[in-house]
Subunit: 209 residues, 2 copies
């Protein structure tokens, strides 16, 4: 079936949000950890983390700074740091619960049963229960004028992950680490790798590697 | 183990690209279709498509305009339109092959064995073999100064998808449509939904819906 822009605008609000959030394809499942200058920790679920660059290493994510995500934004601007923690099958319910609208004084770590974990490098909390954790330094924000969302870019300061999921060529087996994928606003998925494919060249069919 | 920023900078180039591209979590698997004013079609694989907004409905993706993705960028700027087509299990090899460096005159549709498909709404090609296809009008680009990548935002003009994957609440079952997820630069995954969870509220545990 064909759904037009006009159809979408006429959808009921919650139906529209559910529908449009589903059609991007699978999304990354991350908890973003931050801390205020006063020491209040915050944890929020995001499904928009994407690769920005490898050299220097950088990731980015899109946020709505006026919503429940406000504290994440404020803390990043205050301290200059944030952490990205992969959501795995064991913690997806707790991770989902961080999207509830808690008061500013309440830490989602406490409210949702997740444990703040710290390294010597940055004072921003990681999620102990996460198996792949990335510490980042804020470097840039770009406001999308169209709807006031903000694309936040961070340079990678450190990565904490299990030794045994890194392949010889640098590929990290996030499936082995139990990392979940998200569909829509509330769908959590485990994965099964079909294949890795060789570097594509004109005139040659990609091979399984 | 802990990998520092310094470690990453000292990695061999290809190892670093493979490693950093892996650690964002799972990524969307999309083919972006465009056409030049002269009528040359282009098709390129992207793993950075994310949700930007539901009202008005918009998606975005990040690109390196000076690389193999140049033609996608030029065509979007020339015509103002592009299509996002979900990669499914049946076409992931052909989709991967679009990342090969073909000459400008060669259409990846022809070279990779995918079929351009058109609607009456826009003159930009969809991928016939894709089950979920989105037509977009370019609305904004933001250059990330940090590394000259560009975040492209498009407003959704139309969506073509099977009737039987839309749930009563608007959730689109992309897993049922066979949409793939990507890890790293070359890992393709099928998925198995663990659960959908209810809207999170403070003090109540999320339930499976």
């Amino acid at each position: 079936m064909v759904i037009t822009n006009q159809d979408i605008l006429e959808f009921q609000k919650l139906y529209r949000a559910t529908f449009i959030n589903s059609i991007t394809g699978f999304k990354s499942a991350s908890l973003i950890g931050t801390i205020s200058n006063k020491g209040n920790t915050n944890l929020a679920i995001f499904n928009s983390v994407i690769h920005v660059g490898a050299n220097p290493p950088a990731l980015g994510f899109l946020m709505r700074p006026t919503s429940v995500e406000r504290q994440t934004y404020d803390n990043i601007k205050e301290t200059g740091y944030f952490t990205i923690n992969h959501i795995n099958k064991d913690i997806f319910k707790k991770a989902h619960q961080t999207s509830a609208k808690y008061e500013k004084e309440i830490s989602e770590f406490d409210a949702c049963g997740l444990t703040p974990d710290f390294t010597k490098t940055i004072k921003t909390p990681y999620v102990k229960e996460s198996k792949i954790k990335i510490g980042l330094k804020f470097v840039e924000e770009k406001e999308v004028k169209f709807n006031k969302t903000i694309f936040i870019v961070g340079q990678i300061i450190e990565i904490i992950l299990p030794d045994d999921i890194i392949a010889k060529d640098g590929y990290v087996d996030i499936e082995k680490a139990g990392t979940a994928a998200i569909s829509g606003l509330d769908g959590y998925h485990e994965t099964k790798r079909i294949a890795r494919l060789s570097y594509a060249k004109p005139g040659a069919e990609p091979k399984k590697i």
